[in-house]
Assembly symmetry: C2
Amino acid sequence: MNYRLDIEYDGTRYEGWQRQKRTENTIQGKIEEVLSRMIGEEIEIDGAGRTDAGVHARGQVAHVHMDTEKTCQEICSYLNHYLPEDIEIRNVTQVDERFHSRLLAKEKTYQYRIGTGEHKNVFERKYLYPLHEELCGDRMREAAEKLEGTHDFKSFCTNKKMKKSTVRTIYEIKIEEYPGEITITFTGNGFLYNMVRILTGTLIEVGRGERDPKEMEAILLAKDRTRAGFTAPARGLTLLNIKY
Amino acid sequence: MNYRLDIEYDGTRYEGWQRQKRTENTIQGKIEEVLSRMIGEEIEIDGAGRTDAGVHARGQVAHVHMDTEKTCQEICSYLNHYLPEDIEIRNVTQVDERFHSRLLAKEKTYQYRIGTGEHKNVFERKYLYPLHEELCGDRMREAAEKLEGTHDFKSFCTNKKMKKSTVRTIYEIKIEEYPGEITITFTGNGFLYNMVRILTGTLIEVGRGERDPKEMEAILLAKDRTRAGFTAPARGLTLLNIKY
């Protein structure tokens, strides 16, 4: 049987989503550990968004093929009982055998939160990047518009050995200003390695006045990582939602 | 000169507000350490609410007598620069020499957050008590009304050796229900040691149906700690506000 897991986590303590050989401290690893114990054999799951170390999720989706007599509700309760308090399974549903969380994802939404005021944000500190600088939202919106659409985002990708296509479509980059905070919400058909964080770093440089919004076209055309801005820190980033 | 400090903190990592001999890991201790470095001599501050280990604050107030050439804004920036990221000085103001944060406090507001649903609350987990049980808000409100007003709250106080008066006035106990959460907000002229947490534990027992709301009068009259409910855990409690 094929099950879909909807997952929420605070990524602060983890080495990211994806299971790795050198460390067991990943979200995927933690969930597989509990599922394997439940089923009595080694279970592997597949997640839609391979979030980096320190990145959070409110709407991660994974799927897992396994055989069990347990109901979806029972699987969910079992997982939540044994998982640490910073990982929660929000929902378990039985899905079509062909459902694949990563390959069939049509749209992903990531949100990046930037603290712009002097305020330390004691209670939100793990979920936003404490920049403590004023940013110009209008300049950022102008630049963001130029990044929307279908482009080769090679300049916004860390992985130099990327052999697969680096063309992606961004449906929307929404920039919202709050007192002491700017939030950037990215919706697209997929994102390259570190792409959201590099887009964010570039937009921050625009918001500071260090870059012109018009530069975006040239950066895209250059297909050169060194032309884009810095990689914004992981802590400000949350995977919000995935659509199929 | 006398300065008022408005302070916010995440109490998770600390042994409470008050400086202690056996540990340096208190909020007061951390602030005094930075102030002493700034002034070049040992500085002591006095806080309005002596919050327990694990209790948080959004509106703690302290005062400190010290001599400095620095402006209030400079003192505030210095403190925030050297304090850890879970303690923030929201404001520094010069006040009358006679201002005393604790002795002149007229009204304090504490809020207790209880997670009632199955939801783990990954992002709020350090700031609410994960009870995961449904509670009856109406029963809790009926009991809360009987606790409002001026009473001897000896039954709701941990300290047996309390020689001073245990009479306090609670102006309001507000119970608000949200999806998966119940919030209890206590406003009064002062609270005894552990009083808010024992009031909360007792109200939880009422909300579960284990106690009758009408019992409150008898518990107050008994002046006996063993008659009241359990002490709710520190993590759910936040000192919200102090009025002078």
